[in-house]
């Protein structure tokens, strides 16, 4: 299982990118050459050089430092949102699926209402009501994203709870709480882990989007989306201001997606690798399950 993951160049690349981004951004206070906040108009729009590896922005702040600290902000908030929606979505899905009845109806109707709106638009509305700020977009994103987890987990529980090993656990005297904890949760978590990895990419994107629109990180705080917003006016004369945070977002999202795809293959119970549209690994033919008839 692990071997399959390590042999796949795409998953490895994803893992590498994510590790790199994490190390760079989490070590931002150590790595960044300057303080990302103080304004110094005398040094505005400096070109890349010795003092400023990536140059400075229109307010004379070191671009590299802002990029590192901005990524820290984006990743921290994406992970927080993810943690919150897993902590809400998974228990909600377990409860709805296992208990059924009125609990299921209430939770799923709530989910239906949320799903009836486009995610980002709904998050925009919630932030509009709560006011701009990173904590508020965190709440807004959590409110609109937990439903996917609740839905998926509920679906898995519905099929799992008809399995005979759940009946057998009941016959062995295990209480409903024990069945959920010992039998349902361990079978539900691997797919949730895959979903969470794939979801992180889109969360990074959502947080950046909301910050770009001015609803998330407020100036002077660095954040990738907010940085792109600040660079808007200089898109023709100083395109690198927008390119650096834009590339950072794209690379991070790509990394999470590759990693998620790799994890999904690892947890795939069928146990054979699908050839990928973008795969360049040699010999990536689908390996058929032993015993399957070969067509000549």
């Amino acid at each position: 299982m692990t071997v399959r993951f390590l042999r796949d160049p795409m998953s490895l690349a994803g893992l590498g990118v994510i590790l790199l981004v994490f190390v760079l951004t989490m070590a931002a206070p150590l790595l960044s050459p300057h303080d990302p906040l103080p304004v110094s108009l005398a040094e505005r729009l400096q070109p890349a050089g010795n003092d400023y590896p990536l140059g400075t922005d229109p307010l004379g702040r070191c671009l590299l430092s802002r990029l590192l600290f901005g990524g820290r902000m984006t990743l921290q908030y994406s992970l927080s949102v993810l943690l919150i929606i897993i902590l809400i979505g998974v228990p909600a899905g377990l409860a709805a699926g296992y208990l059924g009845g009125i609990v299921d109806s209430i939770l799923m109707r709530m989910a239906d209402i949320v799903l009836a709106f486009p995610n980002l638009i709904l998050a925009l509305v919630v932030t509009g009501v709560l006011g701009p700020g990173l904590i508020n977009i965190l709440i807004a994103l959590a409110l609109v994203s937990w439903v996917q987890y609740a839905r998926v987990v509920r679906g898995m529980v519905l099929s799992l709870k008809e399995k005979e090993f759940i009946l057998a656990a009941r016959a062995s005297g295990t209480a409903p709480g024990g069945i959920i904890w010992h039998h349902l949760l361990p079978n539900v978590l691997p797919p949730v882990a895959v979903m969470a990895t794939l979801n992180l990419g889109s969360l990074v994107l959502s947080i950046s989007t909301l910050s770009f629109l001015g609803l998330g990180a407020q100036p002077p705080l660095p954040e990738w989306g907010a940085m792109i917003n600040e660079a808007r006016n200089y898109i023709v004369t100083q395109p690198q201001l927008m390119l650096y945070p834009g590339t950072a977002i794209a690379v991070t999202v790509l990394g999470f997606n590759l990693l998620g795809d790799g994890l999904r293959d690892v947890f795939d119970p069928q146990g054979f690798t699908r050839p990928r549209a973008y795969g360049f690994g040699k010999g990536k033919q689908p390996v058929f399950v032993a015993g399957a008839k070969r067509i000549k």
């Binding site: 090993f165 009946l167 057998a168 009941r170 295990t174 409903p176 010992h182 079978n187």
Partner: protein, 324 residues
């Protein structure tokens, strides 16, 4: 005091047809039965073993799930040692579950794929003997694994590392590890090759003799039932149509039972099957009167009008048929 008794047990499932209309599917309908294990004690091996036979869809598996209280009966009452258990919540059922265990048809599906053998076999011990220490549990697990014919040092393995026959033994080990009085076996021999079936039935007999476990064997495998059981219950269309001693198969009265027995192939070459015409009735629309009358070769006028009542014809023989 009867060990387990059901009175007029029924289980219906509802499917919605359209927005308001619901269709009732009666999987089990007005079943009364007593499983008396006290009288069976000391009366020799197999004496408390009961077979439940019938064709697919006759409701025998549903009945097994009702009397193991994995499903709640929709009608009727279920009593365990004179205590009504039909409506009890799960945590009040522990004393009942302690004595009545179940083995499922698909042993592989009845074992959690993410649990080791130790965890699987510990589960009933933890629930029924909360004070047991891990060391004592491991001793008991080692002991039971030897008794069901598994290698005792395999307790760190996962279910998928075992063969089909070993998984069945594992499922049996989990059920008998707490020494239950009654073991409900739902189609345990189906889908196995004959030698494995034989091994399992002999294991059942051995465990029965050694620990005093009695069996309710739900099966459509007549030879297995005849081998293991003293008493046979025949189900048709959700009802028990005949209850007779396994040794006196020839004395069966109900036309359905006789058709079932005659459809069994034999090895001596005298096999001339007599096939029943027609099909089993639709459980959402049983025929009026006796549910078997459309297929019965001996039906009378009364059969299509009045449902037969279950009557005793001898001390240990009863049937629901107008012909008696």
């Amino acid at each position: 005091m009867t060990f387990l008794s059901g009175r007029n047990l029924g289980k219906s499932y509802f499917t919605s047809k359209g927005l308001w209309h619901k269709e009732e599917i009666r999987a089990v309908y007005d079943v009364s039965l007593d499983l008396d294990l006290e009288n069976a004690r000391g009366a020799g091996s197999r004496s408390g073993n009961t077979g439940l036979v019938g064709e697919s869809g006759s409701g025998k598996s549903t009945l097994a799930r009702l009397i193991s209280r994995l499903e709640k009966p929709t009608t009727g009452s279920l009593r365990f040692k004179d205590e009504a258990i039909g409506d009890l919540p799960e945590k009040m059922l522990l004393p009942f579950r302690r004595q009545v265990q179940v083995i499922f048809q698909d042993a592989a599906a009845s074992l959690n794929p993410r649990h080791t053998v130790e965890k699987i076999l510990s589960e009933p011990l933890r629930n029924f003997f909360p004070g047991m220490k891990r060391k004592e549990r491991l001793e008991r697990i080692t002991e039971i694994m030897g008794q069901v014919g598994l290698s005792p040092d395999h307790f760190e393995r996962f279910p998928h590392e075992f063969s089909g026959g070993q998984k069945r033994r594992l499922a049996i080990a989990r059920a008998v590890i707490i020494n239950p009085d009654l073991l409900i076996c739902d189609e345990v021999t189906s889908g196995l090759d004959v030698s494995l079936q034989g091994q399992l039935l002999n294991l059942f007999l051995e465990l029965g003799d050694r620990f005093g476990v009695h069996y309710l064997l739900v099966s459509h495998d007549l030879p297995a039932v005849r081998y293991l059981c003293r008493r046979v219950l025949v189900m048709y269309a959700g009802r028990i149509v005949e209850d007779f001693p396994a040794a006196e198969m020839a004395a069966s009265i109900h036309p359905y039972t006789r058709a079932l027995l005659e459809s069994e192939p034999s090895l001596d070459g005298s096999f001339s099957p007599r096939f029943l015409p027609g099909e089993p009735p639709d459980p959402s629309a049983y025929p009026t009167g006796c549910p078997f009358h459309p297929r019965c070769s001996e039906k009378k006028a009364v059969c299509s009008e009045q449902a037969p009542i279950f009557k005793k014809v001898a001390d240990n023989h009863g049937t629901a048929c107008h012909l008696t």
